[in-house]
Subunit: 288 residues, 2 copies
């Protein structure tokens, strides 16, 4: 049931990408944009669509920011995979953009995906101008030098220091690197409805941390083929992770506790919130 809903939302996002990106000139950079957005779980877009549904905002409106956040996520992966960053050849089981094309195309495709993320969030069909302005402002904050990029910059800074990060430092780093976009996605529905964001924010903060701990566990225990990317990277690089700091078993317990917290935060919504609660449970059970 949950996986069907996730797949249904992912297909809806793919259709919207086809519509939006299909209208562009046919060039390496635009082909790379489409390529980079294909596949993946589309968890962030799913969170936008489901948090919107929770507030009776339909997919005809929510599909715009849902596709927008996936465009933004795709840009971050394209740039992150470049040789001057994480230097990865494989993503979602396929060659990364700079391998399939070249680095210049990766820079441009990522840049244009970031721009289109803001275009999608401010599209007239999203809803009232107040919502469009707020979605763009908060997406800029979540993705920039106080959000996602801050997390990446802290990650790079950590690589060049002798001292491994503490649990507090890793938590702050991950709150930026993956947490900020997950929080934005889960709060998008409440923003679109101009409703109270507090329950979804609590949900998202617990979910984001659980997601990252699960990623660290996957990096140690996962199957590279199923994951579609290189694993054991952190251990090889001698990086501190939730697993290296807490130990594998305590990390699993912590992730489970966080999922319980995430679910509890949505109790006030009643049965309508079941799909989002399932998403939290899925996040620590996934194999990719």
């Amino acid at each position: 049931m949950f996986r069907e809903r996730l797949a249904q939302d992912a297909a809806r996002i793919q259709d919207h990408f086809d519509l939006v990106l299909g209208a562009l000139d046919d060039l390496d950079a635009t082909r790379a944009m489409a390529y980079a957005t294909e596949g993946g779980k589309r968890l962030r877009g799913f969170l936008v669509l489901e948090s919107a549904r929770l507030h009776s905002i339909g997919p005809e409106q929510a599909i715009w920011p849902a596709t927008g956040i996936e465009a933004l996520h795709a840009y971050s992966l394209v740039h992150d995979d470049m040789p001057c960053m994480d230097d990865d050849d494989l993503r979602r089981g396929r060659p990364t953009v700079h391998v399939k094309w070249d680095e210049g195309t990766a820079v441009l495709a990522g840049d244009a995906l970031q721009a289109i993320a803001f275009e999608l969030c401010t599209h007239p069909e999203v809803g009232p101008v107040a919502v469009r302005a707020e979605l763009a402002l908060t997406l800029a904050q979540a993705s920039g030098a106080r959000g996602m990029v801050l997390g990446q910059a802290l990650d790079i800074a950590a690589e060049t220091t002798e001292m491994p990060l503490t649990l507090d430092e890793i938590t702050r780093l991950q709150a930026g690197k993956t947490g900020a976009l997950i929080e934005w996605s889960a709060c998008a529905g409440a923003r679109m409805a101009q409703a109270d964001r507090a329950p979804l924010r609590q949900y998202a903060q617990a979910l984001g941390l659980a997601f990252q701990i699960a990623d660290d566990i996957l990096d140690v225990e996962g199957d590279a083929e199923k994951a579609g990317k290189r694993l054991q990277k952190d251990a090889e690089a001698g990086k501190a992770t939730f697993v290296s700091l807490l130990g594998l078993e305590a990390a699993k317990t912590r992730a489970t506790d966080l999922v319980d917290q995430a679910c509890a935060a949505l109790d006030g919504y009643g049965a309508k919130a079941e799909t989002l609660k399932d998403a939290a449970r899925f996040v620590i059970a996934r194999d990719s």
Copy 2:
């Protein structure tokens, strides 16, 4: 008089950058963001401030999008200068970001500068939510795969084909690469006032083309020291430019005609438009 106003607006933009970027964590990427925004003519930010003034919108509101467009321009330069793009070591007379730091820092600083551009354009102090949503939407369109990035992608595609570009093709390429942001900047004031944009659009389209022709002339006739960057790049690369296609004298005549057209488009505003007309004259008279 005009140069004083330009310098005054540039200083105002610098103060705003200091305020906004000074609040970020102190890391390589954030230091590189500040570095990349220093210097330069700040013509785009000036166009925002002056087109706003033309519509009685004061700098306390217009400084946000003026600084935003300069952040966006700075991101494009940082990424453009990278080895996988134009591979330039010098910008505004100083080492480029990837030379002073490294390529990873250049990618991240550029990415965060793009995000902050949207944050500045949607800041509550810009004005009504309708204006903030519209500024973000149009900036995304002007800077993405149908605007600036399209121009860059066409430029790269042209390098790999045997046939030199025609005048029509170069005009389309430049309309994206530099024209789209110049048009957005000049129209920003009318957008903020929710007024008719047609005169400023006409002004900006002529100005943008004149700007690019002047750049091509500068590339041939200019002084690299004054320009603060490498020159004669296009001729060395055997690239078609307005100068190679029209000849030097005809290019100069065309630029002068375009400046006359730009000025004529603003006649309806009376004496208030003098500064913007001076800006058009300046664009073809500058030495950097």
